[in-house]
Subunit: 272 residues, 2 copies
DNA sequence: CGTTTGCTTGACAGCATTCAACGTTGGTGG
DNA sequence: CCACCAACGTTGAATGCTGTCAAGCAAACG
């Protein structure tokens, strides 16, 4: 195990010191005009997510070069899709503000949430394999992404060694994350799944300057259940039980982690 | 859905016309001297897995250049590890002959099989993210791999556009595959999981020139169960039930798919 | 040929699903 | 301002799938 957060080693994401707070609701509050927002080009070097995003660890000179890699920004309203299964793959997207879910589905309608993405995380990696997207990416709140045209990225990776390595790392990390989810889905009971989910979510939020104990969930019980391989009723019941046990405080979508160590302990339970 | 094999679209691997048969047991039968085998350098251009491996789709001239990318071959005996959690990451490995499993584990001993790898498939992608491997890769039979030093790969990717794209595709495909497994683990019942597993396995074997209906399983019921999120008893019982229903013929590790369409139908079942 | 490992099958229990009813919240329009 | 509605969340009761424990069998190995 290489990660200090032992219990969630397989499940952990980005492991960085907290960066300057991001105004999560900046774009929500003002209900901005999409057209205008899209016209603004943002420099990576002045983006407060640069320590969590693609250009992590790049030198200042490299950072300058990367500016023209990132295309326009794009606004996605809550409930809308950034891309859908079957859409031609052209670009990757870095989340600037907001919150997404990705999901795959069978032709008969069942679907599985494969991840939740927040600021600094990359969307669209699935599309490279077949030149078409193989999952849907849906905004769970009004969101804003940086569009990274893939052909342009390929060019730049050839010139910038550090960025090439960084990009490979991001793809590799996604694979490792997926393995962690497989472990969760394959061998944990409901309580442990929910605990792992909350620990992971709060950790990632903490890395972005948020509280680390209090969350306002952006997704429904059904979406959590789909991600964790549980029914929405089971998720609700599990929240209630963890609250009774004094590990959480739950009020609808507001969740406060009271006993982080206690949740951690649940992950190591023997069954199922 | 882009794949013709609709039911297993999320779960399918490589989708190529069958290539020339590979002598699966060539190395098993003769019990070769490992030292000698390792000394042999194999040219990708003369490898019968080239249409399923990293250099897929490369021009002949590119193929020539890739030769010196691949380092020595390495023999891994049945039960031994190609790499383990925590090992420093130096290389990727392409399976030449044999069969592997990869697994992640929690500190308290539980583990989860994350995949089974056969000829032409890449191992070690997990290691890029943290410069250490995050899973174990165990040979399920005496196996032989081509070692691809990662620093060397990085160099060559910068020179060969096609190979760069190909490598990204392979990583992306792994992500898509993992999403398929998550769908399976999150929303399918035991019968459907086993059906999906067998359909996937036989399809991949078929793409390598094997029967497509008959398999000799290289893994135990416990390993199948770990992969599918089931207990070994459930796997065994499910095999028996599918046999009663006339979909399979099972005799220990020999499995014959009798009714492929019937198995396919199981995947689309409504619950659980 | 005995031992070990892996596979099968049965009985039973338990956790999660299913079905159902009710409560809460937020938005809309009268 | 309030009523109403729709979406979401909570809780209860009952069913059932899968896990657990146990025994017996088959195959592989030395």
């Amino acid at each position: 195990m290489t990660s200090p957060a032992s219990g969630t080693a397989q499940f952990s994401e980005i492991d960085l010191p907290p960066s300057p707070p991001v105004s999560w609701h900046a774009i929500l509050g003002g209900s901005p005009a999409p057209a205008r927002a899209d016209a603004i080009k943002v420099a990576c070097s002045s983006c407060n997510l640069r320590e969590l995003c693609l250009p992590v660890g790049l030198s200042d000179s490299d950072l300058g070069q990367i500016e023209n890699l990132v295309g326009l920004r794009r606004t996605v309203r809550r409930g809308e899709a950034l891309f859908r299964v079957g859409d031609p793959f052209t670009s990757l997207y870095a989340v600037r503000t907001g919150f997404f879910k990705t999901r795959v589905s069978t032709e008969d309608g069942r679907d599985q949430v494969t991840g939740f993405q927040m600021g600094g995380e990359l969307l669209g990696l699935d599309g490279i394999s077949h030149d078409r997207h193989s999952c849907d990416a849906i905004a769970l709140e009004d969101s804003n992404v940086c569009q990274i045209p893939y052909p342009r990225l390929q060019e730049i990776l050839r010139e910038m060694t550090d960025l090439q390595h960084q990009f490979h790392k991001i793809m590799s990390r996604e694979i490792v994350r997926d393995h962690g989810v497989m472990l969760l889905l394959g061998s944990m009971r409901a309580e442990a799944r929910v605990a792992a989910f909350l620990l992971n979510l709060t950790q990632r939020l903490h890395a972005r300057g948020f509280s680390g104990t209090s969350v306002v969930l952006r997704m429904t019980r059904e979406e959590i259940g789909s991600y964790l391989g549980l029914q929405l009723e089971t998720v609700s019941r599990t929240f209630s039980r963890l609250q009774e046990d004094g590990l959480l405080e739950v009020k609808q979508r507001e969740v406060r982690v009271v006993d982080r160590a206690g949740l951690q302990r649940l992950l190591n339970e023997v069954p199922c």
